[in-house]
Symmetry: C2
């Protein structure tokens, strides 16, 4: 591939897809032509983008002809189905799904952390799971300084992590609760309004869910260090958007809270809000709509002298998904030779 002129967004009408469009509009990537694709349910929809109206095309075998790069925000099974079509057309795919993340020849990328990995792609670049991305952005400066040995992470994951359907189900459930009417969940296994569900994804190995195992394996792959031990617990909470994580990190070299604040503040993509007396800390309501990872409650873990505790918050639809994918596209475009005359 000598240049990238045409970019497709696959799943453009979904919760993440809509933010991919926003990001593409605001970040002004040097792309000549945009194409929008969706499954049957949404194909034919009209959408507005950069002042024009586009019709969403159908994601089908020949849909990739002439498309240089695609950002795909589809479920795993859809990604598995369309990837051969993309490969046949020579389209590079930035894949938000989990389907290809752990394949050895697929870079799993957070640009602030491992942009260098993009160069070795062979057609697919994966974007990590939302809960992994914000964790690893926060871990990276600590790892560089002090070598992360062990991470205990407990999540508070918003309903939008299950897409528009999840977000809607919370809204319907809250309305039913306020009105005293009956409500039957469809997206989550139990009502999520006024509740917490300590299961995200299906049960896999050793009592851990698929969501929890992603935090282990994706973290190691992105930080390129299989010695990092991760103990995850993932919980769905009745919040529409923005994931929070309580993190305890043990490092080889001690990191004081003061040093950690400095490391976080100097790292691209991290903002520190850490002033409890003035009630300053990240929360869903003040991080919603931001593209960075916001860290607060930075303190020594009182149970281990080489451990640090902090509270890590990010908009799961943005840095956890859409923003990260568009940032990968930016890096990819910056690595391409200039298009003029080639």
């Amino acid at each position: 591939m000598s240049s990238i002129k045409t970019l497709a967004v696959i799943g453009a009408t979904g919760a993440v897809g809509r933010i991919v469009l926003e990001q593409l509009e605001s970040r002004r990537l040097p792309i000549e032509r945009f194409v929008f694709l969706s499954s049957k349910r949404s194909a034919g929809t009209k959408l507005h983008f950069m002042g024009q109206t586009y019709q969403v095309g159908l994601l089908e075998p020949n849909a990739f002809a002439g498309i240089d790069l695609a950002i795909a925000t589809t479920p795993d099974e859809v990604a598995v189905e369309f990837m051969p079509w993309a490969r046949a057309a020579g389209t590079i795919v930035i894949d938000e799904s989990a389907a290809h993340r752990m394949l050895p020849d697929v870079p799993l990328v957070i640009p602030e952390v491992n942009a260098h990995a993009i160069a070795r792609h062979r057609g697919i670049i994966a974007s990590p799971n939302c809960s992994t991305t914000q964790l690893v952005v926060a871990l990276k400066p600590l790892h560089d300084f002090g070598q992360v040995k062990r991470v205990v992470v407990t999540t508070y994951q918003a309903t939008s992590g299950a897409g528009s359907a999840g977000r809607d189900e919370l809204a319907y459930g809250l309305r039913a609760s306020v009105n005293g009417s009956a409500f039957h969940p469809q997206t989550f296994p139990y009502p999520i309004a006024n509740n917490l569900i300590p299961q995200i994804g299906s049960l896999k190995d050793q009592g851990y869910t698929s969501e929890e195992l992603k935090l282990i394996y994706e973290t190691r792959k992105i930080l390129e260090d299989d010695s990092i031990q991760v103990g995850p617990t993932c919980v769905r909470v009745p919040v529409p958007n923005v994931h929070c994580e309580s993190v305890v990190v043990q490092t080889e070299r001690e990191i004081t809270p003061e040093k950690a604040r400095e490391l976080f503040a100097n790292f691209p993509g991290i903002t520190v809000w850490d002033d409890v007396p003035n009630k300053l800390y990240p929360m869903p309501i003040n991080v919603d709509g931001r593209d960075d990872v916001v860290v607060g409650r930075i303190r020594k873990d009182l149970s281990d002298s080489n451990s640090l505790a902090f509270w890590c918050v990010s908009d799961n639809l943005r840095k956890g998904a859409a923003t990260n994918a568009v940032q990968i596209a930016e890096v990819l475009l910056s690595q391409m030779p200039a298009t003029c005359g080639t």
Copy 2:
């Protein structure tokens, strides 16, 4: 004191007080006379108890005359004020507040864990903080078997932990959110509806809040082991009632998940719900109204070979407060000499 014939409930009209009354009705303690006391705001209120109507008396210096035992569910500052009045009258006080918990001559008691400590009281027996109680009930059988070394605990605390006002504020906030109307929080520092607040209580030492430090110091006192290291994070969640905790425990002697399930199941006051494939785990909606501690998601912590992870859920108004206080009264009564002829 030769016998306990008269029991007072102080703060009888509050969120915890109402459940103390329920517990007293259902547990049928051998008490001859009940008295109900409250601060000025609620004194004079009528309440129904065991088929009779009582008028709530005023909590004032001479209110303790003739009262053998009191269960007090007041804020700290109220407990500090009335305790000399109770002492002067010879009234034993089971105190739900935090005001006296850490005093050396005040036993801090969870009957299933350290009922023996009640015997050395000198007028005050303290009931632990809600988030401590459920944690320590779950830790006790693990500690007895394998010696707890380190605990990392992250809480999901319901709004009722801040009393009726907290619970009401969530309800009002949710109604405002559903109706699209404005809402200004009064009990919590930020709106709690659709949000998470990573601060409970005020900031104390080393970046920890008062609520977090209780988890450290109360745990050590109840388990009578100052070597136990605790790393706490306390977070308020938009759930009306029932606290959840994600717990990772390192023990001296390895405890397999199978062994832990057995230890939990055989311990009084613990119920195990742990079958993820069948979506069985404790949550606020299925633990609300129960008097026990329910444990699920029991598994090896994948980040440390001597650590176990689990999810611990309890009704913070019941076992976390009212039920525990009434259980302390039951033990105290059972330790008294028979009243006949003495």
